[in-house]
């Protein structure tokens, strides 16, 4: 496909560079967004270690593990998709992106199952916490942090999936090739970020 570029860029190379830089800058905003959450986590964990231990013990660790593995695998798929796109192998790219999307669906499904479990058990934030068995002071804070963190993360998973789906369109139309991978590259970066955040959330919420 011929390389076109917007008129205010001197050439396509500059446009690519600008697009990539823009994406990285946007990722830094996402990093700072989740940072605030990790601060809240650390703050309350320091104050209420018993509650946080109790809360993470109540998590279904193997569900979290499954989600972690699936998300890492989807990151791998997306990295490969970017590589394939650069080599012009559009069909490979397309199916790798579809695989990553399926992983996203799996992830959200597991989270939904977990959330339902939490609702049933009364493991909820703030005044809604009604689990009779967990009594450590600050336990409702653990769930406030848990739901805010995983909820925000799940929202980003949805956004990431939308970006991946959008990036799959040129693959379907056989448009990717050397020098023309911007969309799958940027979507991939976003998806890797989603994975990155979960890499931290999993041990902090489920394990320790």
């Amino acid at each position: 496909m011929a390389e076109t570029h917007a008129h205010h860029f001197p050439d396509a190379g500059v446009q690519r560079h600008a697009s990539l830089l823009g994406m990285w800058l946007f990722l830094s905003t996402e990093v700072l967004l989740f940072a605030g959450l990790f601060v809240a986590y650390g703050y309350y964990r320091f104050l209420f270690p018993g509650a946080f231990a109790e809360g993470s013990r109540a998590m279904h660790t193997w569900l979290g593990l499954a989600n972690t593995v699936v998300l890492i695998a989807s990151s791998f798929a997306v990295a490969l998709a970017h590589h394939a796109a650069g080599a012009g192998r559009n069909r490979t790219t397309f199916w790798l992106l579809v695989a990553a999307l399926a992983a996203g669906v799996f992830f959200l499904g597991v989270k939904a199952v977990e959330y339902v479990e939490h609702f049933r058990a009364g493991e909820l934030p703030g005044k809604w916490f009604t689990h009779p068995g967990m009594k450590a002071p600050g336990i409702s804070l653990f769930y406030a942090v848990y739901f805010l963190a995983t909820g925000l993360h799940a929202l980003h998973v949805v956004v990431g999936m939308s970006l991946l789906a959008w990036a799959a369109v040129p693959a379907w139309k056989r448009r990717y090739g050397p020098g023309n991978v911007g969309l799958v590259e940027n979507a991939g970066l976003y998806w890797h970020l989603v994975d990155l955040v979960w890499i931290f959330l999993f041990p902090l919420l489920y394990l320790v």
Partner: protein, 131 residues
């Protein structure tokens, strides 16, 4: 600024190795998370998670092959996050004990909602102390 060369980096083999490394580290963190390591559990988990994150950033996201602004953006972000964490901890860790949310004047652990009662609107409202 260097023009970004899209495919100078990363063969599929490299991605595979990173993926396997990530899987191994995930297993490690799961196993060590189940052990009772006391005070070491959190630092260890953070070290493992940071290593995994580093792998994703460096190789899946190609920071290893990038120069310039993206690296700086991530480095500066990290610096600000560390500052935020450090100074927030500097507050809560060294705060005057009576002002700490988990102590509140007596040195035993507090049951939930002990000093303040829930009003009909579901929010906490002060309850006069009974002494």
């Amino acid at each position: 600024m260097t023009d970004h060369a899209p495919h100078a980096h990363g063969s599929p083999l490299r991605y595979l190795l990173v993926f396997l490394g990530l899987l191994v580290l995930t297993v490690v963190t799961y196993v060590t998370g189940k052990m009772h390591l006391g005070g070491w559990a959190l630092p260890l988990a953070l070290v493992i998670a940071s290593t995994k994150a580093g792998l994703v950033l460096a190789f899946f996201m190609h920071l290893w092959d990038t120069r310039g602004a993206p690296l700086v953006a991530m480095a500066v972000s990290l610096l600000f996050i560390v500052t935020l964490l450090a100074l927030v901890f500097g507050d809560v860790a060294f705060r005057f004990p009576l002002a700490r949310p988990d102590r509140m004047g007596n040195y035993e652990a507090l049951p939930v909602g002990a000093l303040l009662g829930d009003g009909p609107d579901g929010h906490a409202h002060p309850v006069p102390a009974k002494r």
